[in-house]
C-alpha cells in the first residue's frame, strides 16, 4: 500500500486559459508533487494534451486520477502506467563549452553515440539536441557533465499508448 510508484498520466483538456492552473492547483493544494509536465496543443486546436509524471502510493495515484477526472475542463484521463504498453520520449537541449578543438571533436563523437544532433556551433560552445527515454537522457547528461554543461533545457516527458491499444 505504501510503496511509491511513478505514473505517467496522459490528460486531454480544453485548450483555454486557466486549465493548466486548475490541473497544477489540484496537485499543489493536496501536497502532491509533479515530476514532469508537458502541455501543448494537439492536431485539434480546441484540445491540449498534457503529459504529467507524478509519483505516490496506490491511494494517492487513484486520488490524482479521480480528481483530474473531476475537473470540468478535463476531457479524458489515462494512466499510461496501467492502461497498457506505451511509448515515451523526451527532448533535451544541452549547451557545452568547447574551449579547445580537441574537446569539440570528442563531444561530437559522444553525441554520435546518443544520436544527438548539433543545432548550434560557436567557437566556444556547442548546442546538442538529443531525444530518448529517461534512461538514455540520463546517460547522455552524465557523460556531457564531465565536459562542462553550460545550460540545459528539457521538454518533459511526452507519451502515448502503443498501436491501436484502446484507452480505458
Amino acid at each position: 500500500m505504501n510503496s511509491e510508484e511513478r505514473h505517467i498520466f496522459s490528460v486531454l483538456v480544453e485548450n483555454r486559459f486557466g486549465v493548466l492552473a486548475r490541473v497544477a492547483g489540484l496537485f499543489s493544494g493536496r501536497g502532491f508533487n509533479i515530476d514532469s509536465l508537458n502541455v501543448a496543443e494537439t492536431h485539434d486546436k480546441s484540445i491540449s494534451h498534457i503529459t504529467l509524471v507524478t509519483h505516490g502510493d496506490a491511494q494517492i495515484i487513484d486520488q490524482i486520477y479521480q480528481h483530474l477526472n473531476r475537473l470540468i475542463d478535463v476531457i479524458e484521463v489515462t494512466d499510461l502506467s496501467t492502461a497498457g504498453t506505451h511509448v515515451e520520449r523526451e527532448l533535451v537541449l544541452i549547451k557545452i563549452a568547447t574551449d579547445d578543438p580537441q574537446k569539440r571533436t570528442e563531444i561530437l563523437q559522444v553525441a554520435e553515440v546518443f544520436r544527438g544532433r548539433v543545432i548550434d556551433m560557436k567557437p566556444a560552445s556547442i548546442v546538442l539536441e538529443i531525444t530518448g527515454d529517461e534512461g538514455k537522457l540520463k546517460a547522455a547528461i552524465d557523460i556531457f557533465n564531465t565536459y562542462g554543461i553550460l545550460e540545459l533545457a528539457r521538454t518533459g516527458k511526452i507519451a502515448m499508448l502503443r498501436g491501436s491499444e484502446k484507452k480505458e
Binding site: 486520488q63 480528481h67 477526472n69 470540468i72 476531457i75
Partner: protein
Amino acid sequence: MELKGAQILVDGLKREGVEYIFGVNGGAAMPIFDALYGETEIKLIPMRHEQGASHAADGYARVTGKVGVALATSGPGATNLVTGIATAYMDSIPMVAITGQVFTHYIGSDAFQECDVIGVTRPICKHSYLIKSSDEIADVVAEAFHIAQTGKPGPVIIDIAKDAQNNEALFEYPETVDIRSYKPQVHGDPAQIAKAAALIKEAKRPMLYAGGGVVLANASEELRQLTLNTQIPITVTLMGLGAFPETHPLAMEMPGMHGSCCANYAFTGSDLVIAVGARFDDRVTGDLSKFAPNAKKIHIDIDASCIGKNVPVDVPIVGDAKSVLTELNKQVSTADIDPWRDQIQEWKRKYPFEYEQKSDVVMPQYVIEKIYEHYSDAIVVADVGQHQMWAAQYFKFTEPRQWLNSGGLGTMGFSLPAAIGAQLGCPDKTVVNINGDGSYIMTIQELVPAVTMQLPLKIFIINNMYLGMVRQWQELFHGKRYSAVDYHDNPDFALLAQAFGATGLRVEHPDDVEPALQKAKGITDGPVVIDFIVDEEENVFPMVPAGAGLGDVIRGLS
C-alpha cells in the same frame, strides 16, 4: 437584438428561473445592478456584507434545491464572498456567484479594486469563468447553471469584466447545454448494485449510514423505502438530518464526534455498512484504524473521488442516490437480523442524549427541547458550535431540507444570512435560527435586511458568553486555559435587536423560556431575537475525542 452585456446576464438568469439575487453593490458591478433596477421577475436583495450575500444564496439553495445566486463587485466585494463560496463548496450546494471585474485592459495591472478572483477561488469552487467579452455571457450563464446543479452540485463563479457588462452583443440563449468534458454519471453499475443486494442479504449486523448527498439528490423517499423494506437500522449524519425521520424506531440518530452512542457502537459492532451520499468524514469516523473494523462497506456516491478516499470500500457504486436506491429497492427484502435490532434498541434505551436539568440556570439543551416542542415543523438554521450540536441532538428532524448548517467548512456566521435566504425560499414556513453568541455577532449586520423585509425569523441565541466549543476543548484538553474565548463583553443582544428595529427579548431563568417562545410565536411582522442566557460551562456530550475510536466515546452523564 443587441443588448448590453449586463442585460444579457439578467435575461439569462431569468431563463434559469432565478427568483432572488443576494448582493452588495460596488463599482465594477454597477452595470449589473443597473440592469436589475426596477426588475420585477428577479428580486434583488441588498445585503449588508458580501459574506451575507453568499450565505443567503446558499440558504435559499438548501431549502429549495434550486441554484442560489450571489452578486458582488470586484476586489474586496469578491473576496468577501469567498467564505460563503467555500461553505457552499464543502457542502455541495448549487450556487452561482457573480462578480464584477475591472475593465479588461486594466486586468493584471493592480487596478483599483482589482483581484484575481478566479485564482483566489480556484480550489473552492466547482468551476469558474472569466468573461472578457459580452458575446460570451449567454453561453456561460447556461453552462454555469448546468454545472452548479448537476452531478455533485457546487458553486460556480462568473467573473465579468466591466466592459463586457457595458458592451452590446446579440442575445441568443442556448436551449440546451452539452459540455463534452462534463458528463456526470447518474445510473449505478447494475452488477455493483446486485453485489450490494447480495451483501445486504447475507449480513447479520447491517446498518445504513446516510449523509447530505441523499438530501441533495432528493432521495429521501427512496432511502425511507430502503430502510422500511429491509428494516435495517439507520444513522443519518449532521448533513443529512431529516433524510430519515429521527422519530422512527429504526433511527439511531446522528453518528460521530457528538453523535449518539448507539450509532457509534453500531459502527463498531456492524458487519455491513451501507453508506449513501456520505463521505466517511473524520468527524464521523474518529480513528480510522478503529472505524467499523468488522464491517464490509458499500459506498453509494455521485463523486467517484469520494469513494475509497478515507475508508477502503468493498462495493463502490458511483451514481445518483435516487437512481441507485430505486434500483437497489427492487432487489432487497426484510433482513433477518432480530438479535442485532434488539441490540440497537437496547443501546438506544440505555444511552439517549441526556443532560442534568437545573432550576436556577437555563440549560441550553432545555431551550432546544422547548424550541422543538413549539416549532417541530419549522426549518431550523443553525450556526456552528455547541448550540449546533445541541440542536442536532435534541431537535428531532423528520423532513429533508428542514435542517440547515455549515457542516463541512464549519463557518461561524453562516446562519442568520442563510435563514434570510431560507425564509425567502420558503415564505410559508416558519424559519428558526438557532445561533450562538460568538457566531451571531459575526454576521449580525444582516439583521438589517431581515427587518427591512419584515421577515418573521425566530432568532434564538444560545448565549453562554463564551466561544463555547473552543472553551470546551480548552477545558478538556488545554488545562482550562481559556485563551481568547471569553465573550462576556458582548453587547446586550436584546437591546441591540431593538436598535435594529427587531423585537428583542432576554431570558435568564428556566421559567421564562416557555413564555418567551410563546411570545415569539405571535410576532409575525418582523424578526424576533431571544437572547437565552444559558449555563456558561455546559459541555456537549457524548464526545469522541479527536483521534479516538468511536468505541471510546465519552458519554458525559453517568
